[in-house]
Amino acid sequence: MRNRLAIALGIASLLLAAAPMWAHHAFAAEFDAQKPVKLRGTVVKVEFINPHSWIHMDVKDADGKVTRWMVEGGSPNALFRRGVTKDALPQGTEILVDGYQAKDGSNRANGRDITFADGKKLFVGGSNPDEQPNAK
Protein backbone atom coordinates (compact mmCIF):
# COMPACT_ATOMS: atom_id res chain seq x y z
CA MET A 1 0.00 0.00 0.00
CA ARG A 2 2.82 2.32 0.88
CA ASN A 3 4.37 1.63 -2.47
CA ARG A 4 1.14 2.31 -4.34
CA LEU A 5 0.75 5.58 -2.58
CA ALA A 6 4.32 6.55 -3.30
CA ILE A 7 3.91 5.90 -6.99
CA ALA A 8 0.54 7.60 -7.14
CA LEU A 9 2.17 10.69 -5.74
CA GLY A 10 4.89 10.41 -8.32
CA ILE A 11 8.48 11.32 -8.01
CA ALA A 12 7.74 14.06 -5.51
CA SER A 13 7.51 11.39 -2.86
CA LEU A 14 10.96 10.16 -3.76
CA LEU A 15 12.38 13.47 -2.80
CA LEU A 16 10.94 13.79 0.66
CA ALA A 17 13.62 14.42 3.20
CA ALA A 18 12.30 11.67 5.46
CA ALA A 19 13.85 8.24 5.13
CA PRO A 20 12.07 6.71 2.17
CA MET A 21 10.36 3.33 2.19
CA TRP A 22 10.32 2.67 -1.47
CA ALA A 23 12.22 0.04 -3.32
CA HIS A 24 11.91 -1.87 -6.52
CA HIS A 25 8.70 -3.35 -5.23
CA ALA A 26 6.40 -3.36 -2.26
CA PHE A 27 7.59 -5.74 0.42
CA ALA A 28 4.11 -5.56 1.92
CA ALA A 29 2.68 -7.18 -1.22
CA GLU A 30 5.03 -10.10 -1.00
CA PHE A 31 5.70 -10.68 2.68
CA ASP A 32 3.51 -10.92 5.76
CA ALA A 33 4.05 -8.51 8.62
CA GLN A 34 2.31 -11.05 10.88
CA LYS A 35 4.95 -13.66 10.14
CA PRO A 36 8.30 -12.44 11.45
CA VAL A 37 10.99 -15.10 11.15
CA LYS A 38 14.46 -15.60 12.54
CA LEU A 39 16.36 -18.07 10.40
CA ARG A 40 19.69 -19.52 11.47
CA GLY A 41 21.39 -21.61 8.83
CA THR A 42 24.08 -21.90 6.24
CA VAL A 43 24.42 -20.31 2.84
CA VAL A 44 23.78 -22.70 -0.06
CA LYS A 45 24.11 -20.18 -2.89
CA VAL A 46 23.67 -16.51 -3.62
CA GLU A 47 22.02 -15.24 -6.78
CA PHE A 48 23.36 -11.78 -7.54
CA ILE A 49 20.52 -11.01 -9.94
CA ASN A 50 18.52 -7.90 -10.68
CA PRO A 51 16.30 -6.38 -9.57
CA HIS A 52 17.13 -7.97 -6.20
CA SER A 53 19.63 -10.55 -5.02
CA TRP A 54 18.49 -13.79 -3.37
CA ILE A 55 20.32 -15.80 -0.74
CA HIS A 56 19.48 -19.51 -0.58
CA MET A 57 20.09 -21.07 2.82
CA ASP A 58 19.53 -24.33 4.67
CA VAL A 59 17.85 -24.03 8.04
CA LYS A 60 17.97 -26.96 10.45
CA ASP A 61 15.21 -27.24 13.03
CA ALA A 62 15.44 -28.75 16.53
CA ASP A 63 14.79 -32.25 15.15
CA GLY A 64 17.58 -31.93 12.63
CA LYS A 65 15.23 -31.52 9.69
CA VAL A 66 16.68 -29.22 7.03
CA THR A 67 14.52 -26.73 5.16
CA ARG A 68 15.70 -24.61 2.23
CA TRP A 69 14.82 -20.92 2.41
CA MET A 70 15.22 -18.03 -0.06
CA VAL A 71 15.98 -14.61 1.37
CA GLU A 72 15.55 -11.45 -0.67
CA GLY A 73 18.41 -8.98 -0.60
CA GLY A 74 19.41 -5.72 -2.21
CA SER A 75 20.19 -4.77 -5.80
CA PRO A 76 23.42 -6.51 -6.80
CA ASN A 77 24.73 -3.40 -8.52
CA ALA A 78 24.33 -1.40 -5.32
CA LEU A 79 25.81 -4.20 -3.22
CA PHE A 80 28.84 -4.53 -5.50
CA ARG A 81 29.44 -0.83 -5.28
CA ARG A 82 29.36 -1.09 -1.51
CA GLY A 83 31.97 -3.81 -1.64
CA VAL A 84 29.63 -6.76 -1.10
CA THR A 85 30.79 -9.32 -3.65
CA LYS A 86 30.04 -13.00 -3.99
CA ASP A 87 33.04 -13.60 -1.73
CA ALA A 88 31.12 -11.97 1.11
CA LEU A 89 28.81 -14.98 1.43
CA PRO A 90 30.64 -18.19 0.50
CA GLN A 91 28.80 -21.49 0.60
CA GLY A 92 28.53 -22.85 4.12
CA THR A 93 28.68 -19.47 5.85
CA GLU A 94 26.51 -19.45 8.95
CA ILE A 95 24.08 -16.53 9.00
CA LEU A 96 21.13 -15.34 11.02
CA VAL A 97 18.34 -13.72 9.03
CA ASP A 98 15.81 -11.47 10.68
CA GLY A 99 12.89 -10.87 8.33
CA TYR A 100 9.32 -11.63 7.34
CA GLN A 101 7.95 -14.73 5.64
CA ALA A 102 6.13 -14.76 2.29
CA LYS A 103 2.36 -14.26 2.47
CA ASP A 104 1.67 -17.55 0.70
CA GLY A 105 3.53 -19.47 3.37
CA SER A 106 6.36 -20.55 1.09
CA ASN A 107 9.88 -20.58 2.47
CA ARG A 108 10.80 -17.14 1.31
CA ALA A 109 11.62 -14.14 3.43
CA ASN A 110 12.90 -10.62 3.06
CA GLY A 111 16.23 -9.98 4.72
CA ARG A 112 15.54 -7.32 7.29
CA ASP A 113 18.94 -7.95 8.86
CA ILE A 114 21.57 -10.50 8.03
CA THR A 115 24.10 -11.24 10.76
CA PHE A 116 27.18 -13.45 10.77
CA ALA A 117 27.93 -15.91 13.55
CA ASP A 118 30.34 -13.43 15.14
CA GLY A 119 27.61 -10.80 15.37
CA LYS A 120 28.77 -8.65 12.45
CA LYS A 121 26.04 -7.43 10.15
CA LEU A 122 26.40 -8.22 6.49
CA PHE A 123 25.05 -5.03 5.07
CA VAL A 124 26.51 -2.17 7.02
CA GLY A 125 25.53 1.20 5.66
CA GLY A 126 28.15 3.65 4.49
CA SER A 127 27.53 6.31 7.06
CA ASN A 128 30.74 8.23 6.66
CA PRO A 129 30.23 11.40 4.60
CA ASP A 130 33.93 11.36 3.74
CA GLU A 131 33.34 8.24 1.73
CA GLN A 132 31.54 8.24 -1.54
CA PRO A 133 32.23 4.85 -2.99
CA ASN A 134 30.58 5.75 -6.27
CA ALA A 135 32.76 8.71 -7.14
CA LYS A 136 36.26 8.11 -8.33
Binding site: I7, A19, N77, R81, P129, N134, A135
Partner: protein, 311 residues
Protein backbone atom coordinates in the same frame (compact mmCIF):
# COMPACT_ATOMS: atom_id res chain seq x y z
CA UNK B 1 8.46 32.89 -31.75
CA UNK B 2 5.75 32.69 -29.17
CA UNK B 3 6.27 33.66 -25.54
CA UNK B 4 6.59 30.11 -24.26
CA UNK B 5 9.28 29.15 -26.73
CA UNK B 6 11.10 32.39 -26.07
CA UNK B 7 11.03 31.76 -22.31
CA UNK B 8 12.37 28.26 -22.81
CA UNK B 9 15.12 29.55 -25.08
CA UNK B 10 16.04 32.20 -22.53
CA UNK B 11 16.35 29.62 -19.79
CA UNK B 12 18.47 27.40 -21.99
CA UNK B 13 20.78 30.27 -22.91
CA UNK B 14 21.20 31.35 -19.31
CA UNK B 15 21.92 27.83 -18.12
CA UNK B 16 24.31 27.29 -21.02
CA UNK B 17 26.29 30.28 -19.79
CA UNK B 18 26.54 28.64 -16.38
CA UNK B 19 27.97 25.50 -17.85
CA UNK B 20 30.55 27.31 -19.94
CA UNK B 21 34.02 26.14 -19.29
CA UNK B 22 37.49 26.46 -20.66
CA UNK B 23 37.99 22.72 -20.45
CA UNK B 24 38.55 21.22 -23.85
CA UNK B 25 37.30 17.63 -23.77
CA UNK B 26 38.96 14.81 -25.69
CA UNK B 27 37.42 13.87 -29.05
CA UNK B 28 36.04 10.66 -30.40
CA UNK B 29 37.65 9.37 -33.64
CA UNK B 30 34.87 11.07 -35.64
CA UNK B 31 35.48 14.39 -33.89
CA UNK B 32 32.66 14.58 -31.32
CA UNK B 33 33.47 15.83 -27.82
CA UNK B 34 34.00 12.58 -25.90
CA UNK B 35 31.38 11.91 -23.23
CA UNK B 36 31.99 8.19 -23.13
CA UNK B 37 32.37 6.27 -19.93
CA UNK B 38 30.43 5.28 -16.83
CA UNK B 39 29.00 8.16 -14.84
CA UNK B 40 26.99 8.59 -11.68
CA UNK B 41 24.60 11.36 -10.70
CA UNK B 42 24.26 10.20 -7.09
CA UNK B 43 23.77 13.07 -4.65
CA UNK B 44 21.82 13.92 -1.54
CA UNK B 45 21.06 17.43 -2.80
CA UNK B 46 17.28 17.62 -3.13
CA UNK B 47 15.55 18.60 -6.36
CA UNK B 48 13.76 21.44 -4.60
CA UNK B 49 15.20 23.74 -1.98
CA UNK B 50 14.20 22.72 1.56
CA UNK B 51 11.95 25.25 3.30
CA UNK B 52 14.55 25.99 5.98
CA UNK B 53 17.01 27.07 3.27
CA UNK B 54 14.63 29.51 1.56
CA UNK B 55 16.53 32.39 -0.02
CA UNK B 56 19.84 30.55 0.21
CA UNK B 57 21.05 29.23 -3.14
CA UNK B 58 24.44 27.92 -1.97
CA UNK B 59 25.81 26.24 1.12
CA UNK B 60 29.06 27.39 2.63
CA UNK B 61 31.48 24.44 2.81
CA UNK B 62 30.84 24.11 6.57
CA UNK B 63 27.07 24.15 6.06
CA UNK B 64 27.42 21.54 3.35
CA UNK B 65 29.29 19.21 5.71
CA UNK B 66 26.65 19.63 8.38
CA UNK B 67 23.84 19.01 5.90
CA UNK B 68 25.63 15.87 4.71
CA UNK B 69 26.12 14.61 8.25
CA UNK B 70 22.50 15.25 9.23
CA UNK B 71 21.14 13.64 6.06
CA UNK B 72 23.34 10.57 6.31
CA UNK B 73 22.51 10.13 10.01
CA UNK B 74 18.82 10.29 9.17
CA UNK B 75 19.12 7.95 6.19
CA UNK B 76 21.13 5.46 8.16
CA UNK B 77 18.89 5.32 11.21
CA UNK B 78 17.61 1.89 12.15
CA UNK B 79 13.90 2.64 12.27
CA UNK B 80 11.90 0.03 14.13
CA UNK B 81 9.52 2.36 15.86
CA UNK B 82 6.46 1.80 13.70
CA UNK B 83 5.17 -1.71 14.41
CA UNK B 84 5.47 -4.82 12.23
CA UNK B 85 3.74 -3.45 9.13
CA UNK B 86 5.97 -0.40 9.03
CA UNK B 87 9.02 -2.48 9.85
CA UNK B 88 8.28 -4.73 6.90
CA UNK B 89 8.24 -1.75 4.56
CA UNK B 90 11.30 -0.28 6.22
CA UNK B 91 13.36 -3.37 5.59
CA UNK B 92 15.17 -1.13 3.20
CA UNK B 93 17.31 0.91 5.51
CA UNK B 94 20.44 2.62 4.27
CA UNK B 95 22.31 -0.65 4.26
CA UNK B 96 20.42 -1.59 1.12
CA UNK B 97 20.69 1.69 -0.64
CA UNK B 98 23.36 3.58 -2.47
CA UNK B 99 21.97 7.06 -2.39
CA UNK B 100 25.14 8.99 -1.76
CA UNK B 101 26.56 10.95 1.10
CA UNK B 102 27.49 14.24 -0.57
CA UNK B 103 25.77 17.36 -1.83
CA UNK B 104 26.59 18.43 -5.38
CA UNK B 105 30.06 19.93 -5.80
CA UNK B 106 28.61 23.30 -6.80
CA UNK B 107 27.25 23.47 -3.20
CA UNK B 108 23.85 24.47 -4.52
CA UNK B 109 21.04 23.83 -2.04
CA UNK B 110 18.71 22.49 -4.73
CA UNK B 111 19.16 20.78 -8.06
CA UNK B 112 16.76 23.32 -9.53
CA UNK B 113 18.67 26.39 -10.67
CA UNK B 114 15.78 28.15 -12.37
CA UNK B 115 13.49 29.54 -11.11
CA UNK B 116 15.97 31.01 -8.63
CA UNK B 117 13.82 30.07 -5.64
CA UNK B 118 14.66 26.42 -6.32
CA UNK B 119 11.06 25.30 -6.64
CA UNK B 120 9.02 23.76 -9.43
CA UNK B 121 6.60 26.38 -10.79
CA UNK B 122 3.63 24.06 -10.37
CA UNK B 123 0.30 24.79 -11.91
CA UNK B 124 -2.62 24.19 -9.59
CA UNK B 125 -4.79 21.20 -10.46
CA UNK B 126 -2.36 19.36 -12.74
CA UNK B 127 -3.42 15.72 -12.78
CA UNK B 128 -1.28 13.00 -11.23
CA UNK B 129 -0.66 9.81 -13.15
CA UNK B 130 -3.57 7.41 -13.36
CA UNK B 131 -2.25 3.90 -13.05
CA UNK B 132 -4.54 1.06 -13.97
CA UNK B 133 -5.18 -1.56 -11.36
CA UNK B 134 -3.81 0.29 -8.38
CA UNK B 135 -5.85 -0.06 -5.26
CA UNK B 136 -6.96 -3.62 -5.92
CA UNK B 137 -5.12 -6.88 -5.38
CA UNK B 138 -3.15 -7.65 -8.53
CA UNK B 139 -4.82 -10.09 -10.91
CA UNK B 140 -1.68 -10.18 -12.99
CA UNK B 141 1.57 -8.30 -13.55
CA UNK B 142 -0.29 -5.51 -15.39
CA UNK B 143 -1.84 -4.44 -12.09
CA UNK B 144 1.52 -3.76 -10.52
CA UNK B 145 3.61 -0.64 -11.01
CA UNK B 146 5.95 0.07 -13.92
CA UNK B 147 9.16 -0.44 -11.88
CA UNK B 148 7.80 -3.69 -10.44
CA UNK B 149 7.14 -4.86 -13.98
CA UNK B 150 10.69 -3.94 -15.04
CA UNK B 151 9.35 -1.40 -17.52
CA UNK B 152 10.55 1.96 -16.29
CA UNK B 153 11.98 3.43 -13.13
CA UNK B 154 10.48 6.85 -12.38
CA UNK B 155 13.83 8.61 -12.10
CA UNK B 156 15.35 6.87 -15.14
CA UNK B 157 13.63 9.59 -17.04
CA UNK B 158 14.38 11.28 -19.13
CA UNK B 159 15.21 13.58 -17.43
CA UNK B 160 17.68 11.45 -15.52
CA UNK B 161 17.42 12.03 -11.80
CA UNK B 162 19.29 10.48 -8.89
CA UNK B 163 17.41 7.83 -6.95
CA UNK B 164 18.11 5.54 -4.00
CA UNK B 165 20.46 3.24 -5.81
CA UNK B 166 21.71 2.25 -9.27
CA UNK B 167 22.43 5.87 -10.18
CA UNK B 168 24.80 4.92 -12.95
CA UNK B 169 24.87 5.59 -16.65
CA UNK B 170 27.10 4.51 -19.50
CA UNK B 171 27.50 6.77 -22.49
CA UNK B 172 28.65 5.28 -25.79
CA UNK B 173 29.19 7.34 -28.94
CA UNK B 174 29.26 6.25 -32.54
CA UNK B 175 29.20 8.34 -35.71
CA UNK B 176 25.75 9.91 -35.80
CA UNK B 177 24.54 8.56 -32.46
CA UNK B 178 24.92 8.89 -28.72
CA UNK B 179 23.58 6.04 -26.58
CA UNK B 180 22.97 6.34 -22.86
CA UNK B 181 22.51 3.13 -20.91
CA UNK B 182 20.55 3.72 -17.71
CA UNK B 183 21.56 1.19 -15.06
CA UNK B 184 18.22 1.09 -13.25
CA UNK B 185 15.84 -1.29 -15.02
CA UNK B 186 18.19 -1.35 -18.07
CA UNK B 187 16.94 1.21 -20.58
CA UNK B 188 19.21 2.42 -23.35
CA UNK B 189 18.42 5.80 -24.89
CA UNK B 190 19.52 5.90 -28.50
CA UNK B 191 19.88 9.51 -29.62
CA UNK B 192 20.34 10.29 -33.32
CA UNK B 193 22.43 13.35 -34.19
CA UNK B 194 21.51 13.74 -37.85
CA UNK B 195 18.77 16.36 -37.53
CA UNK B 196 16.07 13.98 -38.62
CA UNK B 197 12.56 15.16 -37.67
CA UNK B 198 10.75 13.73 -34.65
CA UNK B 199 8.52 10.72 -35.26
CA UNK B 200 4.85 11.35 -35.96
CA UNK B 201 2.89 12.93 -33.11
CA UNK B 202 0.80 9.76 -32.94
CA UNK B 203 3.80 7.67 -31.93
CA UNK B 204 4.31 7.77 -28.16
CA UNK B 205 7.19 6.16 -26.31
CA UNK B 206 8.01 5.41 -22.66
CA UNK B 207 11.18 7.49 -22.80
CA UNK B 208 10.04 9.80 -25.57
CA UNK B 209 11.69 10.45 -28.91
CA UNK B 210 15.12 12.11 -28.53
CA UNK B 211 17.05 14.19 -31.07
CA UNK B 212 20.54 15.44 -30.38
CA UNK B 213 22.97 17.96 -31.77
CA UNK B 214 26.20 19.59 -30.67
CA UNK B 215 26.42 23.24 -29.67
CA UNK B 216 30.16 23.68 -29.28
CA UNK B 217 31.21 21.13 -26.67
CA UNK B 218 27.67 20.68 -25.37
CA UNK B 219 25.42 17.82 -26.43
CA UNK B 220 21.86 19.15 -26.61
CA UNK B 221 19.09 16.55 -26.59
CA UNK B 222 15.49 17.52 -27.20
CA UNK B 223 12.88 14.89 -26.34
CA UNK B 224 9.17 14.86 -27.17
CA UNK B 225 6.54 12.18 -27.93
CA UNK B 226 6.24 10.82 -24.38
CA UNK B 227 3.30 8.52 -23.69
CA UNK B 228 0.40 9.16 -21.33
CA UNK B 229 1.25 6.38 -18.87
CA UNK B 230 3.94 8.24 -16.96
CA UNK B 231 4.35 11.64 -15.38
CA UNK B 232 7.43 13.61 -14.53
CA UNK B 233 6.49 16.01 -11.74
CA UNK B 234 2.98 15.90 -13.20
CA UNK B 235 4.15 16.76 -16.70
CA UNK B 236 2.49 14.38 -19.12
CA UNK B 237 2.83 13.22 -22.67
CA UNK B 238 3.22 16.74 -24.01
CA UNK B 239 6.28 17.41 -21.92
CA UNK B 240 9.10 18.97 -23.89
CA UNK B 241 12.49 18.23 -22.48
CA UNK B 242 15.83 19.76 -23.37
CA UNK B 243 18.94 18.22 -21.82
CA UNK B 244 22.46 19.58 -22.05
CA UNK B 245 25.58 17.50 -21.44
CA UNK B 246 28.85 19.43 -21.12
CA UNK B 247 32.08 17.76 -20.09
CA UNK B 248 33.60 20.36 -17.78
CA UNK B 249 36.50 18.28 -16.43
CA UNK B 250 38.00 14.85 -17.08
CA UNK B 251 35.78 13.41 -14.33
CA UNK B 252 32.67 15.59 -14.74
CA UNK B 253 29.77 16.04 -17.14
CA UNK B 254 27.57 18.94 -16.14
CA UNK B 255 24.05 17.75 -16.89
CA UNK B 256 21.27 20.28 -17.13
CA UNK B 257 17.69 19.79 -18.14
CA UNK B 258 14.81 22.13 -18.84
CA UNK B 259 11.26 20.85 -18.83
CA UNK B 260 8.17 22.52 -20.13
CA UNK B 261 4.55 21.43 -20.03
CA UNK B 262 1.99 24.22 -19.75
CA UNK B 263 -0.54 21.76 -18.31
CA UNK B 264 1.72 21.13 -15.31
CA UNK B 265 3.94 24.20 -14.89
CA UNK B 266 3.40 27.94 -15.07
CA UNK B 267 6.76 28.27 -16.86
CA UNK B 268 9.70 26.05 -17.87
CA UNK B 269 12.19 25.14 -15.17
CA UNK B 270 15.77 23.94 -15.13
CA UNK B 271 17.85 21.65 -12.93
CA UNK B 272 21.58 21.01 -12.91
CA UNK B 273 23.21 17.75 -11.75
CA UNK B 274 26.93 17.02 -12.05
CA UNK B 275 27.62 13.52 -13.33
CA UNK B 276 30.89 12.14 -11.96
CA UNK B 277 33.03 9.51 -13.60
CA UNK B 278 32.75 6.24 -11.74
CA UNK B 279 34.01 2.73 -11.92
CA UNK B 280 32.43 0.29 -14.36
CA UNK B 281 31.28 -1.93 -15.68
CA UNK B 282 27.56 -1.66 -15.19
CA UNK B 283 26.43 -5.25 -14.81
CA UNK B 284 23.60 -6.47 -16.97
CA UNK B 285 20.26 -5.70 -15.36
CA UNK B 286 18.18 -8.56 -16.80
CA UNK B 287 15.26 -7.34 -14.71
CA UNK B 288 12.49 -9.66 -15.85
CA UNK B 289 14.63 -12.77 -15.68
CA UNK B 290 15.42 -12.19 -12.02
CA UNK B 291 12.11 -10.71 -10.97
CA UNK B 292 11.13 -13.43 -8.50
CA UNK B 293 9.33 -10.74 -6.57
CA UNK B 294 6.55 -10.52 -9.18
CA UNK B 295 5.71 -14.17 -8.60
CA UNK B 296 5.89 -13.50 -4.86
CA UNK B 297 3.54 -10.52 -5.05
CA UNK B 298 0.96 -12.37 -7.13
CA UNK B 299 1.20 -15.38 -4.81
CA UNK B 300 0.75 -12.98 -1.92
CA UNK B 301 -2.43 -11.59 -3.47
CA UNK B 302 -3.84 -15.09 -3.96
CA UNK B 303 -2.95 -15.96 -0.36
CA UNK B 304 -4.75 -12.83 0.83
CA UNK B 305 -7.85 -13.85 -1.17
CA UNK B 306 -7.86 -17.33 0.32
CA UNK B 307 -7.54 -15.90 3.78
CA UNK B 308 -10.42 -13.51 3.17
CA UNK B 309 -12.62 -16.28 1.73
CA UNK B 310 -12.07 -18.57 4.71
CA UNK B 311 -13.20 -15.95 7.19
Amino acid sequence: MNGKVFALAAVILSSAALAQTKYNPPRTPDGQPDLQGVWTNVTITPLERPANLAGKAFFTPAEARQYEKDTVDRNNADRRDGGAQADLSRAYNDAWYDRGTKVVETLRTSLIIDPPDGHIPRKAGAPAVAQAGFGRPPEGPEDRSLPERCILWPTAGPPMMPSFYNNNYQIVQAPGYVTILVEMIHDARIIPLDNRPHVDAGIRQWMGDPRGHWEGNTLVVETTNFNDKTRFQRAGQNMRLVERFTRTAPDTIMYEFTVDDPSAFTKPWTAQIPMKKTEGPIIEYACNEGNYAMEGMLAGARADEKKAASK
